[in-house]
Subunit: 247 residues, 2 copies
């Protein structure tokens, strides 16, 4: 299950102030296969600092600077603004970041570019910025702490957009031991319990079942069954020795 | 569609070095309704700095410090390690962060605590850290840029875990032992292996990991863990007797 293709997604940071956040956004973009970073009216020093960072990614080095949101999104077929605002009346109301909004974005990405706008650390996107957006999107967070760190918000959005919609989990491939091997383990455990005095006379049958059930429920893989049997045999060897010595 | 309940999730940061990352993790936790932050052997100055940050969240102020992974996860029913490693052969191989792994975690969160481990910025979790994990989890990223920023990785994991699945698989109901109880079993098995001569001198560390992993993979329920520990203790008692007799 590879990542979904985000090469035509354009991340637009509007008036970012902290170079660390620009760097963090670029790093998340590299992680999730998104390439086009655009920055609108950054705090100038911050942008220069972020761009010249040692080990800065290709995303950062190729970042483009714009004077207005209009210019930054001009070639995009869909413009989506991100916001933490929920109470203020927004029209249209924000969609939640989830599989549904991701599907809409991907349906457009098949045809052209989609801009994803992030506002400044302090005040986010303004109403003027919103006016360039086809719709707004918000990350579902705890009601008492809705505002996310900018770099983390970018990472979470890209993760969701790159994330393949759920399909059933592929069956795990496990090599299993034979019932016979498991029975050897159960018998070994039982003998150890006998020698050590755990099994009281007359309760053998019950403990045989208990030991077998315990081993079966361990759901061991073939390798682990072999390992465990080897350990048990060594322990048994020692216990038998002591039995002989004391007997 | 509210957030899923993460109040019993425990985020464990192992040897974090950068206070900004500790703060970022705590912020993401507040955003997604997770409360328990534990820090193992942090770069001391970093932890103090993060904790005393102005505007630091309740999560950060209540963060607990531990000297070992074992102590930090002792009261957890499931321990999941995060890793960016894909090529190195890991056994069991990491699960992808997705709805399926989230479902497994939520089925355990219904009964008890789940620890989610994050390693240091530079090297992540070590093989020794891995040995305390029931399984490992990785975030699906672009093949050329797999390593995520620590704070962003925490945010993405919590987002996925708090995110309502499109369709949830019915959770299994099993009462699970604590990591501490499982550690008792592993330690007991190890002692038995020592006395019986299975462990050769100089290989203690390797066998300690092997024994712990074997016990974790058994996926024991609480009742069976108690039963198995009782058996092991009796066997150990006998082995110790023979050791005294021969010593």
């Amino acid at each position: 299950m590879p990542l979904l293709d985000l090469t035509k997604l354009v991340v637009v940071m509007v008036r970012p102030r902290n170079p660390l956040n620009i760097g963090a956004a670029a790093r998340a973009m590299s992680n999730f296969g998104s390439r086009h970073l655009r920055v609108v009216n950054p705090f100038r020093l911050a942008f220069r600092e972020a761009r010249s960072a040692v080990g800065g990614s290709a995303v950062l080095k190729n970042a483009e600077e714009f004077d207005s949101v209009a210019d930054a999104v001009a070639d995009c077929a869909l413009v989506v603004g991100t916001t933490a605002i929920r109470d203020r009346k927004l029209d249209p109301p924000p969609k939640m970041l989830d599989g549904n909004s991701a599907n809409i974005i991907h349906s457009i990405l098949k045809q052209g570019r989609v801009a994803l706008l992030f506002g400044s650390e302090k005040i986010g996107l303004t109403n003027d910025d919103f006016s360039y957006c086809h719709w707004l999107m918000t990350i579902r967070t705890h009601s008492q702490n809705i505002s996310m760190n900018l770099g983390q918000a970018v990472a979470v959005c890209l993760y969701e957009l790159a994330r393949e919609a759920e399909s059933a989990a592929p069956a795990e491939k496990r090599e299993l031991p034979s019932a016979e091997q498991l029975e050897h383990i159960a018998k070994g455990l039982l003998e150890a319990l006998h020698i050590s005095g755990y099994v009281k006379p007359g309760t053998d049958k019950m403990f045989e079942k208990k030991a077998r059930q315990l081993i079966l429920k361990m759901n061991l893989e073939a390798y682990d069954a072999k390992l465990f049997l080897g350990m048990l045999r060594q322990i048994l060897w020692k216990l038998r020795q002591s039995k002989k010595a004391s007997g």
